[in-house]
């Protein structure tokens, strides 16, 4: 298993999932266009840009931006299906926690270079505008590490999250810390005491760390312990220069500083995962006081656009698995959960039926999970033999199972996510349930007999695949 971004890029290159660009490119519009283009290609490779006009260091884009890269991130064969990746992740999830190991500063690559004065983000990071009407240059793929100011010695409550950062000066960033995010909780506790909140922002990370930082886990669960479980080996941490935070020892860059207490300044808009621009808001700001980094640090960033772009791969199965775990606990009939559409706004669940109307019960259980309450809006329930990751099969279920008068339910004026452009007023939305399962007693439906797969079909699939040149 790779230990960091650099080792993972070598794997991608060996598997033909990385393209290197050697000629010098302009920061705008080249880096934005490459971020859009890479996931639109069939292979969906990462793109490593070696030279950018006026900058010292390279950029890598689309590291997570295909199911092939995603499979390699999990150490699986690159052609593994989405369903195979789902069940592999689901089983590794139960290995939590795998505790990290700590290495000394001298053994931590992230400490190779230390900058303590004349902080200039542009010296280290090849910053650029991601979408044309973003308010400025954004860092879109950071790990942001903070502690609970009321419980600073509790490792499990240390939060590692991804929140967008707008560059507002050589040593200053705007940060989006929503009150319902863990960092929002930590910031509130610091601001109640009028104290700065120490933060470290890590860039160019182990791809499984980025995967975990976007996963909705509980406040007192550690992202590091989860990443260790998914990797099957502990992650390596080291101590930050200040603020007593635990940071990945092998990331490319660490920006250390603090959130200024009780100050908000204008931030945004920013092209978001919904495929549209966010609004303009007054948000918190970070001052950077120290930088440590590896030699020739790689700036890893991500493009967001109308799906699918890299962000959609990064928010796909890590949204699906926690929901699956939560519902499966009460409803063992559940087979799989596909919550990959716009961070779980759209969800497809396959299930066996306990009795008539059960599909609707499953949908309502989803709508009472922590993530489902605000996010999930468009819910499709399919039979246990339908693969929820296979959209043609899901469309078959809708076209041949759904009775418009009985199986489509609209629940108005429920909680919603403000980032959803249909949420009106922001924070409210209407839920739609489509039950595309086959009715069972006491519900009644016309008799239908399903076609069966001929014997040896799987054998012939293998034969055909093997004989394809």
């Amino acid at each position: 298993m790779y230990r960091d971004l650099r080792e993972f890029l070598l794997i991608l290159e060996k598997e033909n999932q990385l393209v290197r660009i050697k000629e010098e490119l302009a920061p705008e519009p080249d880096l934005s266009a490459i971020g859009r283009a890479a996931p639109d290609t069939e292979a969906g490779p990462a793109v490593f840009v070696e030279r950018i006009k006026g900058y010292n260091n390279p950029v890598v884009l689309n590291v997570h931006g295909s199911w092939k890269n995603h499979a390699l991130m999990l150490g699986m064969p690159k052609n593994s299906t989405i369903k195979e990746q789902f069940f592999e992740l689901n089983s590794r999830w139960d290995d939590y926690p795998v505790k990290p190991v700590w290495v000394n500063s001298k053994d931590a690559p992230i400490k190779e270079v230390k900058i303590t004065e004349n902080i200039n983000l542009f010296d280290v990071l090849s910053l650029y505008r991601i979408n044309k009407f973003d308010a400025g240059f954004y860092i879109s793929k950071p790990l942001i590490i903070t502690k609970d100011p009321e419980d600073p010695d509790n490792f499990d409550k240390q939060n590692v999250g991804t929140y967008r950062l707008q560059v507002k000066g050589k040593n200053r960033l705007g940060i989006q810390a929503m009150p319902f995010h863990d960092i929002g909780v930590n910031l509130r506790k610091a601001e109640e005491r009028n104290k700065p909140l120490p933060v470290v922002i890590c860039i160019g990370n182990d791809p499984l760390m980025n995967f975990m930082s976007g996963t909705p886990i509980e406040y007192a669960q550690s992202e590091y312990d989860f990443a260790g479980a998914l990797k099957g080996q502990p992650v390596e941490l080291t101590k930050s220069e200040s603020g007593d935070l635990d940071i990945p020892a092998r990331s490319e860059v660490a920006l250390e500083g603090y959130i200024i207490p009780r100050v908000r300044r204008v931030e945004g808009p920013f092209g978001e995962f919904t495929g549209s621009y966010s609004g303009v808001r007054n948000q918190a700001e970070v001052v950077i006081t120290k930088i440590t980094h590896r030699k020739s640090p790689i700036f890893e960033n991500l493009y967001l656009g109308i799906p699918w772009t890299e962000i959609d791969f990064l928010l796909a199965l890590n949204t699906s698995i926690p929901i699956y775990k939560q519902i499966k606990r009460d409803f063992p009939e559940i087979q799989a959960v596909n919550a990959m559409y716009t961070h779980g706004i759209g969800v497809i669940i396959s299930t066996k039926k306990r009795f008539g109307g059960f599909g609707k019960s499953v949908a309502m259980r989803l709508l009472s999970t922590p993530h489902g309450i605000p996010y999930s809006k468009f819910i499709i329930i399919v039979d246990e033999f339908v693969d929820p990751f296979n959209l043609p099969q899901v469309m078959w279920a809708i076209t041949t199972r759904v009775r418009g008068d009985k199986d489509v339910v609209i629940i108005p004026n429920c909680p919603g996510v403000p980032l959803d452009p249909t949420s009106e007023p922001a924070g409210m939305n209407t839920k739609i349930i489509i039950d595309a399962t086959t009715p069972v007693a006491p519900d009644i439906a016309r008799e239908t007999e399903l076609l069966e797969r001929p014997p040896d079909t799987d054998k012939w699939i293998e034969y055909i695949n093997k004989n394809l040149k």
């Binding site: 006026g54 929503m178 204008v266 609004g279 303009v280």
Partner: protein
Amino acid sequence: MICPRCGKDDIVFMVKSPKGDVWSAYICNTCCYSYRDTEPAENKERELYDERFRIDPDKIDSCPIIPPIPKLI
């Protein structure tokens, strides 16, 4: 200099390219909009800045505050 986005005369120099002297970046102290001088004119000039994304400098204070600032304890 005039901010392309909010129209205030409040654009200041932010940084020049760390390698060679090939570009400079600027930022508005009123609305925090920033740009690089090698970007297209629609990102740099007030007259060409898209109407849909302009902002009124007098309305910035009334934009939502995220997260809310809590009471001191």
